[in-house]
Amino acid sequence: MSRGVLLIASNNEQIDYIKQAVFCAKQIKAHLGLDVCLATDNVKYLETAYPFYKSYIDQIVELEYYNTSQIKTYHDGIYAQKKLPWKNHYRVKCYNLTPYEETIVMDTDFIVNNDVLLNCFDYNEDFLIYKSYKDLNPNRVEHSFEKVSDRSIDMVWATVFYFKKSKLSEFYFDLVNHIYDNWSYYRLIYQIPNVNFRNDYAFSIAIHILNGFQRADWPKNLPGNFWTTTDADILYEYKDTSMKFLLENTQDRGQFYAGKILDGNVHVMNKFSLNRIIDEVLVNE
């Protein structure tokens, strides 16, 4: 049975998701040793900007380019922010995009530093996802990471998930696509104030519906810790598997704590600081 990781990357004017995908694939090769497929709407850019990509990316799926009206505020620490297009719509199509029978789908800003995710292939489950997270910053209480809205359902993280091609997975992703097509309706039903489509929410709603509109054990958690940082934090050094961050001091705005993690898989939401670090890492490629 074929196994691999699917990455999806669509750049906007400021954030080079394709660069992140190349770096993410490099980490996957080093720690998971799996095939990597990149689905992108700008293959030409990948080939010209990162001609060495073939060392890390095994397959390319070309996506149709589209413009989005969806705008998101991206922070770079507390004080810097930019409003930019947010193209996250292809994630819901992953069931048909993947060339593999068993797939781990990963955000390009998820940095793999160990091999714990390989255990998902031994679980005998059709679908696995992270239902809980660990904030690298111990002082932050982020309610929006717990529930899709204040009085609504539990949130799962579409940042990383595993699925096996099966009736159940197909059924699940058909439902996710239906939620995407009718986002305005589901957003109101689940009391989500933000108009932007967000995969975490659509995946959470689909799980809630398939579980009979109840909280339940399905799906199981992906193996390992899901560490996260927000875009208020700054990644300032990456070496081997050690990542060093400036973590926002929530009680003293503008101040930071230092934090370091070794061998941990980390979701780095500050895309600007991640891209600065990737420039340093890929400089000799």
Partner: protein, 115 residues
């Protein structure tokens, strides 16, 4: 600023960093102390080791264990399972101790993070 308060705030920053690094180490220890077998996930702790040892002492060679996801999993070779979880336990506690001692002796944020 009063020098006494300045010193206290400096120490408080160090303690916050130290506590967070200890928490990260502990989470890593828990993440590594897991045995995946036959589709099951078993957190390796004193309770699991004790239970398996008891089964073995009662001449059991196989058993059905309930994993972390409340899934029943058949363990066909209990001896091997016990050996494996003991190995995981000793390897990880040893590593945890080493890393814990390493940060325990560091007296500044700079040293803690290797700036």
């Amino acid at each position: 600023m009063d020098a006494r308060l300045e010193k206290a705030l400096e120490f408080s920053n160090y303690m916050a960093t130290l506590n967070n690094q200890r928490r990260i180490l502990h989470e890593k220890f828990i993440e590594n102390s897991v045995h995946y077998l036959n589709g099951g996930k078993f957190s390796v702790d004193r309770e699991l080791i004790n239970f398996c040892s008891t089964l073995k002492q009662n001449d059991q060679t196989s058993a059905i264990l309930i994993d972390d996801n409340n899934t029943p999993v058949e363990i066909e070779d209990l001896d091997k399972f016990l050996d494996d979880i003991l190995d995981i336990y000793f390897t990880n506690t040893y590593e945890y101790l080493n890393q814990y001692n390493e940060i325990k002796n560091k007296r500044s944020v700079k040293d803690l993070i290797d700036l």
